[in-house]
Amino acid sequence: MSLPSDIAAELKKILGPEGFLDSEEDLRSFAYDLFATHRPDAVALPATVEEASAVMRLCNQRHIPVYPRGSGTSLAGSPVPVLGGLVLCSSRMNKVLEVSVTDRLARVQAGCVTGNLQKAAAEKGLMYPPNPTSCLYSTIGGNVATNAGGASGAKYGVTRDYLLGLTAVLPGGEIVHMGNRCQKDVTGFDLPRLLCGSEGLLAFIAEVTVKLIPMPESIRTALAYFSDVTEAGSVVADIVSHRILPCTLELMDGVFLRTVAEVYGVPCPEGAGAALLIEVDGPDMVLEGQMKTIEAICEQHKAVGMESATTEEERDTLWKARRGGTAALVRKADRLVTLDYAVPVSLLPRALKIMEKLAEEHKCNVVTIAHAADGNLHPMVLYSPGKPEEDAAYEAFCDASTRAILELGGTISGEHGIGLEKKAYMPMQLGDEQMRIMRGICRLFDPYGIMNPGKLER
């Protein structure tokens, strides 16, 4: 399929030759994310809000599907143009517009890569804390649209917690500035945060204003090994009950540790069935005491080994286990799919046990890591697609684990989003009434249903 020629001509006029692409090569290149692929009919790369607005107005008039896209790093098929139509990609709108030290905020265009925003803030001694693993290549617009989180979520929160305002382009082409530069604001509904996590279903986000905080003075890192995931899980609760909120609490299971040991020759202490990577940040004088307390807690829980780091170099070595582990697993498997669930922190040990049990039951190779302090777990399934029995086992594990998480009172997505991957499960978690309200909101923003169609059933 391709767009009607008059629409293509009009889009070309709006966007110029660099901003409108419809060669077969370009269509292929904007078809995918890690989860799914579908070829669009054309690609728009606006350079300004006004161009985006003109594009949206035209598509709305002619009922052409519009698929907002950042870097296409979604893990759930969210930006994939499943019904063809137009991909509206923010990559050329990538500027940091302002970093204000006195107002403690930054204003950036939606296509700005989050790492560049963080760098610009750091140059002025400030920090933008949300750090999804993909922050060096995903866009802030995509992060807002998926409410991205990261390893430091428990202490610092997620994208939504830093959102002060945004400029949205509605399907009709209206340019709306939502929120403002105020650190406090209770006037009206919180529309910026409604758009946060809306996965491109409501509007195209063109510009974002985020809150910044002072950069912490120092950071301390420790890596502690335990006999199993339940023990490691209970350490988490204990640390928090001692009034310490680590900025990182990454949990790795036994299979994960064994892979690291095997691939990198990093020895893992005897009897270790789980590990916790713990980081605290803040004023130097406080960290010393906090680290001592954490060490004592780990001892009480019969840690089978413990290492700590103060310099950046030592810290890198400890992180190697966590980062290198994922890389090693990715290389080991034909395909590795990272699932994403969250449960109340108290239930994390149980959720981890359930994952182990289900993996065994379905004869699936599953390795689990977790952002433990906020109950966000990532079972990673390793398999060879194309082999019928492995495909079936993978499908069965995904289905069973999603249902088990719901039964436990958890959520089917902690940070990766719904997209195509979890589309069928969302109504199970939210129920009819919430789904009805969400559909109503969609209609209010987007009466013709042109925004990211094929995802949420409308």
Binding site: L21, S23, E24, E25, D26, R28, S29, F30, Y32, D33, L34, L45, S71, G72, T73, C89, S91, R92, N94, G111, V113, G115, S134, L136, Y137, S138, T326, A327, V330, R331, D334, R335, L336
Partner: protein
């Protein structure tokens, strides 16, 4: 297609200089890999856009280095270029073919050409200067904003015999052969002379075989497979006359091509390739050679380093720029830093954003002069910020590029080949 399959995570977008410039997925590694795969599988009829995507890759290897899955993006893209073959032989493409396939392999012809190179500055259309970076850059350099490197009046082969023996008072320790590369042999021979000198002083007999030719990188990187294979077979045969000894290179691109790209015909030679600076470092570490104190160096040698005198108390500040083509051999950068730091008259500083491409080494950057300029200027600024007197690289392309941009910024710092310092 061999090797692991791309899973479309997008991580490689974070390091690709060409994506960061264009800001269009089609000109990023993930799409290039996908397009190359689709064409190879017969799923996609390659059009103009495909050609542009494959051609505009700088072959900086950054995507290959970062991929967690182990996908060798740069190689896949290079293979796609070779598979395209000659393509449509437009005038530009014909010129490119003439330079990479006819001129570069013929050293005698080249030598004469260099003498009349000003002629070429007018002959080459701007775009052609692209895919052939090192020597051709020198040939066609002065056109536009690019400045011309100092051309050697005499080539290395005119200056030195085929076999250079160590001085009588030095104990012989071994034999090495030199792969000069087009640049080191014909254009800027300073680094080569310094290297030969340093090797002689350490007791090595150095073979500088006259019959050697271009490593074939310009042909390979421009997609001319036949000429590349010819270069490979030719050099393999030439160096077979110096068997069993290490073959030292002065250029990261030659190094990459000889050690990683040579196939069955050049495998024996590939196994003997060592970067010259790494070779010196290994030797010195084993035998405890320590660079002379500034007091003992000839005044002229020091005068040319910077205006202020170099002393042990006020050492020369040297930054190391890592050429892209050593990206997959990180030991090279480590060895060079150790070797430089071992000299009491040198203090090594780091540039910010280590590993960033300067737009001057490898190939094709000049095909996209805008990217090359953007990258070159950013890298030159990083040198200025670092406070270095001199930035070194083991790649004539990088040295040329950095010097051009340092000059444009009117900076005091300048760039030189690592061996120009190590050889002192």
């Amino acid at each position: 297609m061999k090797g692991p399959t791309c899973e479309y995570c997008g991580r490689c977008l974070s390091v690709c200089p060409s994506y960061k410039h264009h800001l269009v997925e089609t000109f990023g590694p993930r799409a290039r890999i996908d397009l190359a795969r689709a064409v190879a599988a017969g799923e996609l009829e390659p059009g103009l856009r495909y050609h542009d995507a494959i051609k505009s890759c700088l072959q900086c290897l950054a995507c290959t280095e970062i991929c967690g899955k182990g996908v060798d993006g740069a190689q896949i893209i290079l293979d796609a270029r070779l598979a395209e073959g000659d393509g449509r032989l437009t005038l530009k493409r014909r010129l490119e073919k003439f330079v990479t396939c006819t001129l570069l392999p013929r050293r005698e012809l080249m030598r004469n050409m260099i003498r009349v190179c000003s002629f070429f500055q007018h002959v080459f259309p701007l775009d052609t200067r692209g895919s052939i970076r090192h020597l051709p850059d020198a040939l066609c350099g002065a056109a536009g904003r690019r400045s011309m490197p100092d051309l050697a009046k005499k080539s290395l082969f005119d200056l030195l015999p085929e076999r250079v023996m160590p001085p009588d008072n030095v104990t012989q320790v071994g034999e090495v052969a030199l792969f000069t590369g087009c640049f080191g042999g014909l254009v800027n021979v300073e680094a080569s002379l310094r290297l030969v000198n340093a090797l002689s002083l350490r007791g090595y007999t150095v073979f500088i075989l006259r019959a050697q030719s271009c490593c074939g990188a310009p042909a390979q990187l421009s997609g001319f497979k036949e000429a590349f294979e010819k270069a490979q077979a030719h050099n393999a045969e030439v160096f077979a006359s110096c068997p069993d000894m290490p073959v030292l290179t002065l250029c990261a691109t030659c190094h990459r091509t000889l050690s990683r790209e040579y196939g069955a015909a050049g495998r024996e030679l590939a196994g003997r390739i060592v970067d010259a600076a790494v070779f010196l470092q290994r030797h010195d570490e084993r035998r405890g050679f320590i660079g002379a104190l500034p007091e003992n160096l000839p005044a002229a040698a020091l005068l040319r380093l910077r205006e202020r005198p170099v002393t042990a108390a006020d050492p020369l500040v040297v930054a190391v720029h890592d050429p892209c083509h050593f990206r997959l051999d990180p030991h090279v950068g480590r060895a060079v830093r150790r070797e430089l730091a071992a000299r009491p008259w040198i203090r090594v500083v780091e540039l910010k954003d280590p590993g960033t491409c300067c737009g001057g080494g490898g190939v094709s950057s000049l095909k996209n002069p805008d990217i090359a300029d953007e990258l070159g200027e950013a890298r030159a600024r990083a040198v200025v910020e670092s406070g270095a007197d001199i930035v070194t690289a083991q790649c004539p392309g990088c040295v040329l590029q950095l010097n051009n941009h340092l000059k444009r910024l009117k900076a005091d710092a300048r760039a030189c080949h690592t061996l120009e310092l190590l050889g002192k």
